[in-house]
Every structure is written in structure tokens, then in C-alpha cells.
């Protein structure tokens, strides 16, 4: 038992690596994950709209894109883009591996997020679209204000799951070769483990990952529960203060739209 404790939970090793893990590693992991989540979400929404288009020449590229980036192992995409595009990217970003790493992670994420959005938008009843059109709203306005917000709301849990995956997959960027202060959680833990011949620093890195991902997991469960049970919103007289063009992801939760025959 003592051997296990020494191998995985040597407090001296963990204490030693912790400042760098938090100061450098956590920051870098968050930079990679958050920026690729943002870019991936924007690209994903575009892919979803293309995939739902009535025009074949828009649907088709979205389909091929999704098949490729969802079908390849993440590491293959990261290496192909991170190393393959260096020549193109060097004049713009120099030798910094981060921009290409973020690009690769974003492209991978967008393929999944696009499918998540598409399924959500498709799940919105046709009657919602028809009601918007019957009121004289344009196709675009109806999609933007009626269909897409409801579709996205339904897939929020799946979306957060995708963000969790991104936090974990961001560690693969280390394959592109990172400078000392560019190292993410995994790399710092791994380096310290290699130097000390003890796995405790890697365990510490793992614990920091869990610190990010476990709350996100609970957030998913929370959103899921709220969507399922619903929570009626009755405001006071503050509605005029509300932003009528509120962002599509509305925090005021609602029971899933029950229109037909309810």
C-alpha cells in the first residue's frame, strides 16, 4: 500500500509541481480549450445552417467536412494541421504552435458541434417555423428568433459535453512541441513525472483537469434537469428593460417546447 501511495500521491512531488501547474499549465489549457470552444461553436453553427440549407451546394460541403473531421483521430488532425500548415502560417504567426493547435482543435470541435446544433434545430416542431412565417416574418428572421434559439436550448447538455471533450483533447497539442512557458497541464505534469521518476505530478495534473471537467459535468446535469422539469418564469414589470434581441442562449430556462397536442 505504501508503494502505491509513494508512486501516485507523493505530497512533496505534488507540492513542487503545483505552482507551475496552476500558474502556467491551467492558464494554457484554458486558453487552448476556451478559444477553440468559441471558434468551434461559431463554425459549428455555420455548418449546421449549411447542413440544413435547401441548397445542395451548401449541404454537400458541410457533409463532407463533418465526415472528415469527425472521422479522423484528433491526433492525426492536430499533427497534419499543426505541422502541415507551418509554412503557410509562419509569416503570420511565426513558429508559435498555439494558433495552429487552436485551429486544429476548433476544426475538430466544429464538426461535432455542427451535428449537435443540426439535430437540435431539426427537433423544433415545424409548426414553430410556420407560425413565424404566417406572422409575416422572413425565413431568416424566423430561423434566427424562433427556431434556432429553441434548437440550441435543447442541445445545451450535449454542447457542454463537447466542451469537456475539448478540455481533455487540448492536451494533444503538446505533440506540436511547446516552449517551456507554453506547456499545458498534461505537459507540465508529464515533464515533472519524467524528471522525478514519480507519477505524482501527473496525478496532480489529472486532479486539476477534474477540477475543470467535474463542475462542467454537473452543469450538464443541472441544465438537463431544468430542461426536463422546466421552470416557469414570471417576471415583474422589468420586461421593458429586457433585451429583446437577447442572445440565442437564454439563461431563463424553460420546459422543452411542448406545442403539438399538449
Amino acid at each position: 500500500m505504501n508503494g502505491v501511495g509513494d508512486t501516485f500521491f507523493d505530497w512533496q512531488h505534488i507540492r513542487d509541481v503545483l505552482p507551475e501547474l496552476i500558474g502556467t499549465g491551467l492558464a494554457n489549457t484554458l486558453i487552448l480549450a476556451v478559444s477553440s470552444a468559441l471558434i468551434g461553436t461559431v463554425l459549428g453553427l455555420g455548418l449546421a445552417m449549411m447542413g440544413l440549407s435547401r441548397r445542395r451546394w451548401l449541404r454537400w460541403p458541410a457533409r463532407v467536412y463533418t465526415d472528415i473531421f469527425r472521422g479522423l483521430p484528433a491526433i492525426v488532425t492536430i499533427l497534419l494541421i499543426g505541422q502541415g500548415l507551418v509554412i503557410v502560417a509562419r509569416p503570420v504567426v511565426g513558429t508559435d504552435p498555439y494558433p495552429l493547435g487552436i485551429l486544429a482543435l476548433s476544426l475538430i470541435a466544429s464538426a461535432y458541434i455542427g451535428e449537435i446544433f443540426r439535430s437540435g434545430i431539426q427537433s423544433v416542431e415545424a409548426g414553430q417555423f410556420e407560425a413565424g412565417r404566417a406572422l409575416g416574418m422572413s425565413h431568416l428572421a424566423t430561423m434566427r428568433k424562433v427556431v434556432v434559439p429553441q434548437g440550441i436550448r435543447r442541445v445545451l447538455p450535449a454542447l457542454v459535453n463537447q466542451f469537456i471533450t475539448l478540455v481533455k483533447e487540448s492536451s494533444l497539442v503538446y505533440f506540436l512541441g511547446l516552449l517551456v512557458d507554453q506547456r499545458d497541464l498534461f505537459r507540465i505534469g508529464q515533464d515533472a513525472a519524467a524528471n522525478s521518476g514519480n507519477l505524482s505530478p501527473l496525478v496532480a495534473a489529472g486532479l486539476v483537469y477534474l477540477l475543470i471537467t467535474v463542475p462542467l459535468t454537473h452543469l450538464v446535469n443541472h441544465i438537463d434537469r431544468r430542461l426536463r422539469t422546466g421552470r416557469e418564469v414570471r417576471g415583474g414589470d422589468d420586461d421593458l428593460g429586457d433585451d429583446f434581441d437577447e442572445p440565442t442562449v437564454d439563461r431563463r430556462a424553460d420546459s422543452p417546447v411542448r406545442v403539438a397536442g399538449s
Binding site: 414553430q128 413565424g132 404566417a134 406572422l135 409575416g136 416574418m137 429553441q150 420586461d239 411542448r258 397536442g261
Partner: protein
């Protein structure tokens, strides 16, 4: 130039199924036409041709003498309000937002004006106190009244009702029908697809019986319900009575 709605020889197929096979209907301005008939006879599709949620393959729809099939659909829909069987309220917005959103998007009203208009319309259907609720917190009857208020807020010249009470629990039907009847008395031009024969008899200026994609018989409620001419209408009335 005739004022009102004129539907001429409408034809529409879905695949090999002929849904409309030359349907005609004429609704003078300010009058209410109730459309009855067995399910699958094309009643809803006829209605949807009027605001172009369905596009007929041939035929003509005239509003005050002008073709709507050659007009901009969004403009047409601003003049023609529609109420659906399943309400189709926007579930992610409050009752108030359901009305202000199209007012602001389509009619370009300011936030304050839209708010006032929406509250006024909600007041007319007796639901101003529900303005801040989600549609899911309302009963079916209340939801349908909100849907009617939403359509009326756009100040349409014509209202279409597509089985507006078919999805409601029996005790909630009356309130919605009364609201539609009030509109008819107020001189709104309306086509009401309904299974409520008592309502059609009481409110309609004319009743149209549809069967297999055609308007088979048109007349006053007395003509249609008391002395039906065709065998098919007689059979239909026997079944629903």
C-alpha cells in the same frame, strides 16, 4: 373589383395524392365562411393556400381583386392572420414576447409601442395578467387565445382559423369559440375550418362543405344543415350529429 377573398379552381398534389382538385370559395369582405368536411378532404390545405404556407399548382387566390399568388408572401401574410390547431406559440418566449416579437420584426414597432400594443391585445382576450408567463404555464384555451391575440396584433384584414379548437379539452372550447364569434360580429373577414357544427350554424354567413379536394356545396347555414342537397353532405352530417 370584388372586395374580400376569392379562391378559384385551386389544385394541389402531394406526390400522387391530389389534395385540392379545383376548389372554389368566395368570402365577401366582413363575412365569415365556415369550412366543414371529413378529415383529409383538403380543408387545411385550402386554408394554407390563402396565406401561401402551401403553394397551389394552379388556380388563383384574390384578395380585394388582387392576386396574392403573385405578391410577396411576407406582405400577403401581414394582411392575413392565421390561428393553428396546435397554437404554435413560441415556447422559449413569454406570452408578451410572443406578440411583441413579430410586432417589432415585421411591423417595425418600437419596444415601447410593441409592449403597449401587445398588452392591449392580451387584455382583449382577457389574459393581460399572464403576460410574463411562459406559454407552457397556460391552459390550452389560454394558449389559443394568446395565439389569436398575436395574430390580431398584426392588424390583419383576414383571419384564418385551422381547427382552432380541435386540440382543446371540451370545457375550454367554448371560450375560444366565443372569441372567434366576437371577431365575426366585429366584421372581420374570416375562413374558419371547424368541426363545431353548432358554431358554424350560429356564426357563419356561409358554410362550405369540402369533400375530396373540392368545395361540394356552399350555402347559408340553414341550407347546408337543414336541406343538404348532395348525398355526401347528408352522410357527413349524419355522422357528425
Amino acid at each position: 373589383m370584388s372586395q374580400g377573398l376569392e379562391l378559384r379552381e385551386l389544385r394541389l398534389s402531394y406526390g400522387t395524392t391530389e389534395v385540392l382538385r379545383g376548389a372554389d370559395l368566395s368570402v365577401p369582405s366582413g363575412q365569415t365562411a365556415c369550412v366543414i368536411g371529413p378529415s383529409g378532404s383538403g380543408k387545411s390545405t385550402l386554408l394554407r393556400c390563402v396565406n401561401r404556407l402551401a403553394e397551389p399548382e394552379s388556380g388563383e387566390v384574390l384578395l380585394d381583386g388582387e392576386s396574392i399568388l403573385h405578391a410577396n408572401p411576407d406582405r400577403v401574410r401581414q394582411r392575413i392572420g392565421m390561428v393553428f390547431q396546435h397554437f404554435n406559440l413560441f415556447g422559449h418566449r413569454t406570452v408578451l414576447d410572443n406578440i411583441t416579437m413579430p410586432l417589432r420584426t415585421v411591423r417595425g414597432l418600437s419596444k415601447v409601442d410593441a409592449h403597449h400594443t401587445a398588452l392591449a391585445r392580451l387584455g382583449e382576450v382577457g389574459l393581460a395578467h399572464k403576460a410574463q408567463y411562459r406559454p407552457s404555464a397556460l391552459s390550452g384555451g389560454q394558449r389559443q387565445r394568446v395565439a389569436i391575440a398575436r395574430a390580431l396584433a398584426m392588424e390583419p384584414e383576414v383571419m384564418l382559423f385551422d381547427e382552432a379548437t380541435s386540440a382543446l379539452d371540451p370545457e375550454l372550447v367554448k371560450g375560444v369559440l366565443e372569441l372567434i364569434a366576437e371577431l365575426a360580429e366585429g366584421g372581420m373577414t374570416m375562413i374558419v375550418v371547424t368541426h363545431e357544427m353548432g358554431f358554424a350554424r350560429r356564426v357563419a354567413d356561409q358554410v362550405a362543405f369540402m369533400d375530396r379536394g373540392r368545395v361540394l356545396e356552399v350555402g347559408t347555414p340553414e341550407q347546408i344543415f337543414d336541406s343538404p342537397e348532395t348525398l355526401r353532405l347528408q352522410r357527413f352530417l349524419d355522422q357528425v350529429r
